[in-house]
């Protein structure tokens, strides 16, 4: 399961949808808006996405990870819109009969999401707003 939301994330709800009676562990990862980036203060972040493609990419990643770690059950939700410092922008749950696979699956999912899913963030601070990753790319 992989989807986008415009509302605050309820991580425990995500855990409940993933967990099976056979699971002995789950790993919950949350990405959180922090108050700094590259030495600059951050007050809030606006997350934007190519929505249908982002959901497809997240689903593709989840499906691939499930084949790599066949005993795990996983789910991902990414929030879009404006978020304040301390808000969770993403939650990932990986559950497994044993902890090692749950840790590995969760880590693999977040690493791949950061590489290919078409989601962008615009950071707002005291000096204005900026899309992350664009400046100085050329």
């Amino acid at each position: 399961m992989a989807y986008l939301t415009d509302h605050p994330i309820d991580p425990q709800e995500l855990v409940r949808t993933v967990m099976r009676a056979s699971d002995g562990a789950y790993v919950l990862f949350e990405g959180v808006v922090r108050n700094h980036h590259d030495g600059k203060a951050v007050e809030s972040i606006f997350y934007d996405a190519y929505r249908p493609m982002a959901e497809k990419e997240m689903s593709r990643i989840v499906d691939t990870v499930r084949t790599e770690f066949p005993e795990t059950a996983v789910a991902v939700v990414h929030r879009l819109g404006r978020m304040a410092v301390g808000d969770s922008s993403i939650a990932i749950v990986a559950a497994s009969p044993h902890r090692a696979e749950a840790f590995a699956a969760c880590r693999t999912i977040i690493d791949r999401i950061k590489e290919t899913v078409p989601i962008w963030k615009k950071e707002r601070g005291p000096d204005g707003e900026e899309w992350v990753g664009w400046q100085g790319r050329c």
């Binding site: 997350y47 990414h78 992350v132 664009w134 790319r137």
Partner: protein, 84 residues
């Protein structure tokens, strides 16, 4: 002259630069995604220095810059992603 219609989507920094989120392009048959990027560089001064196109998506799937567009395609240039 044979031509086709392609829907170009703008996201994130590119939407800010273009001032719109979508545009219909009439293009000659055989036009590649990279050639559309060249056209944008000529249109928007803020893109002039970006000689290499960002990642490219055609119909919601990543594609090569040299991919030839077809009538009805949905094309998007994907600025560096920053999800998570």
């Amino acid at each position: 002259m044979p031509s086709m219609k392609v829907r170009l989507l703008y996201f994130a920094v590119l939407r800010d630069i273009a001032g719109t989120d979508t545009q219909e392009l009439a293009l000659p048959d055989g036009t590649t995604a990279a050639q559309v990027w060249e056209r944008l560089r000529g249109t928007f001064a803020k893109l002039a220095d970006y000689t290499q196109p960002p990642m490219i998506a055609i119909n919601e799937t990543y594609a090569d810059p040299g991919a030839v567009l077809r009538d009805g395609d949905e094309l998007a240039f994907i600025p560096p992603v920053a999800g998570g």
